[in-house]
């Protein structure tokens, strides 16, 4: 995705028009690279045909890792490596291990989720994300269309389709 440099950018003023526009543009066979909005627009993911994120599965697995790590650590420390009598309890007694297990489960699930999200979204230190149109952080909805994967259509066709779909502007955007 980094190698693609030439885009057409459609600007939409209103989220209702945008939602209908997304469907119209996709009906015409145009593949949408991404849509940037200043606020969450309900129904946009469905309109763009995005699949459900698998992040919750990753979170569950990270959590499970935390649970087993915490239990292993405590059982090894207090039961095997350096057994100590605390309050007359067994060396390995589950109830006092639960708070630590809970905390490590939450910690690893949270950190793991953030890390996974950053990697999947290609966000990393010193990486400057592409700005298709700065107004997407203000009051405009911005639809980016990658010319390299829409080879069956000319850029003029795409601009016309965007205008018909309700875009107030359709601009070229090149990253060099």
């Amino acid at each position: 995705m980094e190698t693609n440099k030439n885009f057409i950018v459609g600007i939409f003023d209103d989220e209702d028009i945008l939602l209908e526009g997304v469907e119209k543009v996709r009906d015409k066979g145009v593949k949408i690279h991404e849509v940037y909005t200043p606020f969450p627009v309900h129904g946009l993911d469905e309109a763009l045909g995005y699949k459900r994120s698998r992040l919750p599965i990753a979170a569950f697995l990270f959590g499970l890792t935390g649970t087993s790590l915490a239990l292993t650590m405590q059982i090894w420390m207090l039961g095997i490596d350096w057994p100590m009598i605390i309050g007359g309890k067994n060396f390995v007694s589950l109830p006092p291990f639960i708070p630590v297990t809970f905390e490590l489960t939450v910690l690893l699930a949270a950190l793991g989720m953030v890390a996974t999200f950053m990697i999947v979204s290609d966000l990393k230190p010193y990486k400057w994300p592409r700005q298709f149109d700065l107004r997407s952080t203000d009051d405009k909805h911005v639809m980016a269309i990658d010319l390299a994967i829409n080879t069956n259509l000319s850029s003029d066709d795409i601009k016309r389709i965007l205008k018909e779909a309700g875009a107030s502007e359709a601009n070229d955007k090149n990253f060099e």
Partner: protein, 448 residues
Amino acid sequence: MGHHITVESEQYIFKAETKKKLFILIAAGLVLFAIGVFMAMTSDHGGHEGHAAISKTEMLASAEPAQVGHAEGEHHGSANWVKRIYTSLWMNNIYFVGLGIVGLFFVCIQYAAQAGWSSGLKRVPLAMGRWIPIAALLTIGLWFLVKGDLFHWTHHDVYEGANADKLLTKKSPYFFWPLHAGSFPLFYFVRMVLFFGLWYWFFLAIKKKMEAEDLDGSTTHWYKSRSLSAWFLVFFGVSSSVAAWDWVMSIDAHWFSTMFGWYVFASWWVTGLAFIVYVVVKLKEAGYLKIVNSNHLHDLGKFCFAFSVFWTYIWFSQFLLIYYANIPEETVYFIERMRVAPYNWIFYLNLFLNFVFPFLLLMTRDAKRHMSMLKVVAPIIMIGHWFDFYNMITPGVMQYGGGFGLLEIGLFMIFLGTFVYVVLNGLSKLPLVGKNHPMLQESLHHHI
């Protein structure tokens, strides 16, 4: 997305067919109860006593030396099977008292939080509140019936003579003020009447506002309901805790836990949520509540999931502190519940039904959005918390002589059938959807 969606008015019809099913449930419950009572009567003469007596002595010797003198008031108690009936009556009553007030609590939380998503389904929890007056009569009536066997502290002889119970004497003003210890527990009784009176008053006031809103559509009713709700929540915060101490914790009168008010509340609340989910799903299956979609179910499912975890948190907080401090007068509570059947298997079953199952089954988004899964998990939670209340109340009364069988199951079915009848009958009295709720459009556009 500013478009306006119009809502069809819906009216729930309490069909004769549904009534028949409930009557069959109640009748089956009566039959099982009768068989259970008969079995309990005949087994009373068997070898139960010896076992119970040994275990009790062992327990008391190890944990509550101060008490051996009068051995939990055994000498003036009813026969074992009668105590079993009383215990079961009281625990079922407390369980359903909770379902009733939690219905009102749910409505009030929605108003106080100015929630829009739930405005289409508020009539279901409101209908649960119709149990409050019945619960009031049952609780007050049953209290006089069972107090001798359930509430050890009501016996006057524990406060008299050389063997007077020091702990109970110190606690006695909480029950008997302004009268003297061992007479009529006026303070306790006034609290009971006051709680039910005010809960019912708040229920009637909010129901009245809803009815008025249906007629004239003015938003003033919503504002009035919101301030009523805020007052109710303050009152409920105090009264639910005190009710839990009075009606449940005082059975184990020597023992106390500062978590107990929350513990009972958590149990009531998640049971109520599961009941709301179940009724909403059933109504949808019958073609009602068209405006409730998978987004609303998702929120209800999240409520069930979250408060199952909340209950577990409270359960564990109570358990860990007592386990770790290891003070005999505290640990006796769990020793009683972990050593002997049926309490020991119920103790662990409780954690599976109320934590492991809801946690794993409701974890995914799809599970919370689909009626097929909610329909399975909601009854698990409701049955799980019934067992929770069983283990809160029975061991304190029956010690090691408690039983679990047709008697308890039958009585639960009678209570359940009656409760559902009252709720559905109440549901048919008002329109199923408050058409003039100022936040109805928000609920219709709810999307998560």
